[in-house]
Symmetry: C2
Subunit: 649 residues, 2 copies
């Protein structure tokens, strides 16, 4: 039999017989690997372990530790769920059932309204089927055979999907496990038995293909794990996340509100939320000025000329608020700040001596999002970007990128986020949606190499998102991890080859000739609204002292000590602290509990003892009573804590 050479990620190679499966290769290495492996990447493509390999190939195994492994695991679990549902509801029809960031979902069309109880029944059925350990078997059909199969199954949704597939391009694949068949490109787990622990989480309405004109299906979200501990940890995390839900805390701490009747997805910052925002903005502005940025303020709307020139009316119109007429001309609310910054750049002749220009704006933009996807502060229609644009020469570019990454690290550390992950997105194929990719290969290569080499010089590991750039340039995305280990895409650093061309931007070089400047968009926090949402959940509403809307609650033990409390409160205010004096004629226990709920970092409990000694008794949030203290000592302690942006864990 013919021999083929298999190369492993460490560069070592080994010979196998042609037709060997990835699973067999894994078994040849160790039982453990064969057990843990969920899929394999063969020559750069994720495949089933059962795929036969017939030529020299590179191989990499994926386990549940890997993103790719999880994806296969959860996607296979969605099939298993459909299988279970079909056996419980034989009339069920199915939409789509992908893996998502955490788990999977499947859209189902059945007449019965599913409840938490029915989810438990489905879950049990899934475990029962999983125990049968049926293999996932891939078959490839012609389009006409596929149509025939799903017509027999009366599965209109799948037929609609098949109808949209290109017959010429490839065979249509279906997967079977046991007596269940589904249209799917795969790949899948070797068998259902790999799926050990399952939790179906929620069920909600979802329009077929996201279109409100279509039928509403029921979408079941679930997750699964190979180990019990992993499921338990995940459920604990979910419980904790529920407690920290920024919408719940936003109400409890009186931070913000949204009002559908006055416009969905538009955020109202209440005094306490706005107090945090003022601190964030002050810090942000000072940091930007200290780091060589200049601040701009630009309007929230612009005439069609601006958006035609920028191209937004071509590639972004669906997300823009349109319809306004001023002096019989079309005006649009801005979805982005860039064209306005370019107008300022263009307001005078620029020389290489003026570059780099680093222009930042807390610019509030409005983008249309379908009402169904709006979610608290995390997905809104109006938000304030912490936007900046850098205009520079090619020679300055790499240093600028390094500085932006360093600045992002500084910002995130200041807000208490330690773990950052970096992604470089490279040139897309020919188009992104309807937008043709702009810029020649040379520009893309150069820009992408600036991005990579900046990260490399900083010794930062990064992942490549091949072809994931915008149509106008490559980018670095930075994700942060929150206190619950959840990942959030926040900072972005994007090249733009499009706007400088469209606005015919230039600077006079040292050679006296006109040159096109490089342009980079960057946002560090992303948007203040979404950032605030993440911040609330990260801290569970117990903000570090420097951000807390009320830093110290001064609580007299009884009405006899209101006067003394007033003196103390006044001294704290004079020291620049944000203080509330709780004069309510309530029991001390009640007041302490109330301020605990309000998550005030410090409470001062003042009674006879304190008044006599002329000192204070301090309770610290999460820690409790920390004893008596001199007022000056307390002020010094807090001043330091604010200066250092200390986080109490």
């Amino acid at each position: 039999m013919e021999k083929i050479k298999i190369t492993f990620p460490d560069g070592n190679g080994k010979e196998f017989e042609s037709g060997v499966t990835a699973l067999q290769i894994a078994q040849s290495i160790s039982h453990r690997l064969a057990d843990d492996a969920l899929a394999a990447e063969i020559n750069g493509e994720v495949k089933e372990l059962s795929s036969p390999i017939t030529g020299d190939s590179s191989i990499k195994f994926y386990t549940f530790e890997d993103k790719q492994g999880k994806e296969v695991y959860w996607h296979s679990t969605s099939h298993l769920m459909a299988h279970a549902i079909l056996s419980l509801y034989p009339e069920a029809k199915f939409g789509v059932g992908p893996a998502i960031e955490n788990g999977f979902y499947y859209d189902i069309d059945i007449n019965e309204q599913l409840s938490e109880e029915t989810l438990a029944v489905i879950e049990n059925k899934m475990l029962e089927i999983a125990k049968e350990d049926a293999p996932f078997v891939r078959c490839e059909l012609s389009k006409s055979d596929a149509v025939k199969l799903f017509t027999e199954k009366k599965d209109n949704y799948k037929l609609e999907i098949i109808d949209g597939l290109n017959e010429e391009a490839e065979k249509i694949s279906i997967y079977k496990e046991g007596n269940f068949t589904d249209l799917c490109v795969g790949p899948h787990l070797p068998s259902t038995g790999k799926i050990k622990f399952i939790k179906l989480l929620t069920v909600s309405g979802s329009y077929w293909r996201g279109d409100e004109k279509n039928k509403q299906l029921q979408r079941i979200y679930g997750i699964s794990f190979p180990k019990k501990k992993l499921l338990e940890d995940y459920l604990t995390m979910l419980e904790e996340a529920k407690k920290r839900d920024h919408r719940k805390l936003g109400k409890q701490l009186d931070l913000f509100s949204l009002h559908d009747e006055a416009g969905a997805g538009l955020v109202y910052w209440h005094p306490k939320g706005a107090r945090v925002r003022v601190e964030i903005e002050d810090f942000w502005r000072k940091a930007h000025l200290d780091n060589g940025y200049e601040i701009l303020y630009t309007p929230h709307m612009g005439k069609s000329w601006l958006w035609e020139t920028s191209g937004h009316l071509g590639f972004y119109k669906d997300s823009m608020y349109a319809g306004m007429k001023v002096d019989d001309l079309d005006y649009y609310i801005k979805p982005m700040n860039c064209p306005f910054h370019i107008m300022i750049y263009e307001s005078q002749l620029r020389s290489y001596r003026d570059l780099p220009l680093r222009w930042a704006e807390l610019g509030t933009v409005y983008r249309y999002e379908k009402s169904g996807v709006l979610h608290g502060l995390l997905r809104v229609r109006g938000f304030t970007q912490d936007d900046a644009h850098i205009f520079c020469t090619p020679e300055q570019m790499e240093d600028e990128i390094i500085e932006v990454v360093r600045f992002a690290q500084y910002m995130w550390t200041s807000f208490g986020f330690e773990k950052l992950t970096y992604y470089v997105s490279t040139k897309p194929a020919k188009a992104v949606g309807e937008n043709v990719v702009v810029g020649d290969d040379l520009m893309w290569d150069k820009a992408t190499s600036y991005l990579k080499s900046a990260l490399e010089k900083m010794n930062l590991a990064y992942e490549i998102d091949e072809g994931g750039g915008a149509f106008y340039g490559p980018k670095i995305d930075i994700k942060i991890n929150d206190a619950l280990g959840r990942e959030w895409q926040m900072s972005t650093i994007q090249f733009d080859f499009n706007l400088p061309e469209r606005f015919n931007m230039s600077y006079i070089g040292e050679d006296g000739k006109e040159h096109r400047p490089y342009m980079v968009h960057r946002a560090l926090l992303g948007s203040l609204e979404r950032f605030f949402g993440v911040l609330i959940e990260h801290y569970g509403g117990a903000f570090p002292l420097w951000l807390a809307p009320v830093q110290v609650a001064v609580i007299p033990v009884s009405q006899n000590f209101v006067e003394y409390s007033k003196e103390v409160a006044a001294a704290l205010k004079k020291a620049g602290l944000r203080v509330e004096l709780d004069e309510r004629n309530e029991k001390i226990g009640y007041k302490i509990r109330d301020w605990e709920t309000q998550k005030a970092p410090y409470m001062l409990i003042l009674g006879e003892k304190e008044k006599t000694a002329g000192n204070i008794t301090v309770r610290q949030h999460k820690i409790g009573d920390v004893g008596s203290m001199d007022l000056k000592e307390f002020i010094d302690k807090l001043t330091l804590e604010i200066r250092d942006k200390t986080i109490i864990k």
Copy 2:
């Protein structure tokens, strides 16, 4: 003959024969008064000096010192101008010709395009006619006679005005002086001879009745004075104002720009202008937090429900940016912040214990203004109000008003404006435009008395603008005087009886019952854009140190001292100062002149002498060389100057 009693402003009275004229009364007092008097207020109404008085009356004389005197003077001069034009251009037709804040204008329809030269010819003709000293004679006609008269004169514009007058209400008055007749309600000067010194200033296009669909007339602006010195001072002031024009300085100092092609009346703040704005905003926010305000942030748009509830779609729609559809519903850009603040008020049950609430927002609003009236930063379509709303109980109201006035004084003093003038505007008749006045007399009386008594308790003189309140409540307006003595209407404190009703706002009183809170709108600076325009002109672009975008320019005498200059600049930056190092390889004289033009408060000139001595030589704007100084001494001096917001005069 019958005797009547005339009472003077000092309370003294005197008897005259019935039918006596105001002029005769003035003559009976002194020749000087008879000479200076331009008009008289008889029983509260401004009348000509020649009006016969036939009953007991109070009288007050107005001279050119008084606003009312100036108004009569200038209005009469506009008649004189029309007279002169008619004698030069017999075919001329006339629109309207009122007195304005400074001088007067008249809209003229003639075929010839007027130039500066022709203005001088008209001016001379006016002086020639004035010398004839013809009296202004009032005649009253029936409407039909008036129509007949102006039909003979073929004066279509006046006929259109007459057509709009109410025949029943009163006789139509015309004024004659010499052979010139004009439709006019008066009052006028005794005779043209009172008009001594005249300057016709500009001529510009103006649509009849401000409507672009009508014919464009030529509007001549002019001014006149009884004394030569007054005219000279005024022309000097105009020259100075031209030099300080914020549009010119805005360009010269690179502070801001407007771009008609991207939308007229929308301001782009460049880095240097924005640097000043950051300082203004930081100061404003800190001052508000220190003065018991809380900060809010609210969206820039709202759904029609909000504007229907607030009533803006009724009484303000023409000024609102409309046409946007979101999810098939009408959205509007906000022209005011109030409904958003009320939404936050309404987001929870409020108790008397929560009041007063003082909520401030730097809220950017957009209002439609005709393109013809837009003017630099002073009249724009998008602007950021320094808005606040106070919600309180009736008992708290007066103290709140006092605090707002005191706060306004503090703000204006901080920015270097010393002279404030106060106006109380009282209940309008029944409607303001199409808006029926809301609130009963009791509410108006109470609120107006709070406003008056607040000013009185503060020992502040104020003028009453009778019937000048908004339809929703009485108000205090505060005008400031700038360095050229010009008056600007800036701060406003307005009661609102309308919105609390419309939104059905309430709080639970001490009695456990629901009460309607008082609501006050207030803006101190007015809008940041207009305030910045006034600020630029007030300082002629030479901002006080704490506001200056660049505080210190560090200038090496030659390239040999760049290194030393870098050290100095770094030390200043470390001390928190805004520094620019001028490394340009240019002559020192050129660089100093350039920084003079940029109006940098301080320049440091660094050469051999300074490097050797390790010190600095300081040039101060407006003052020049102030000698050598130790760097630390200089930093201390500037730190103090910033802290104290010192103004160098």
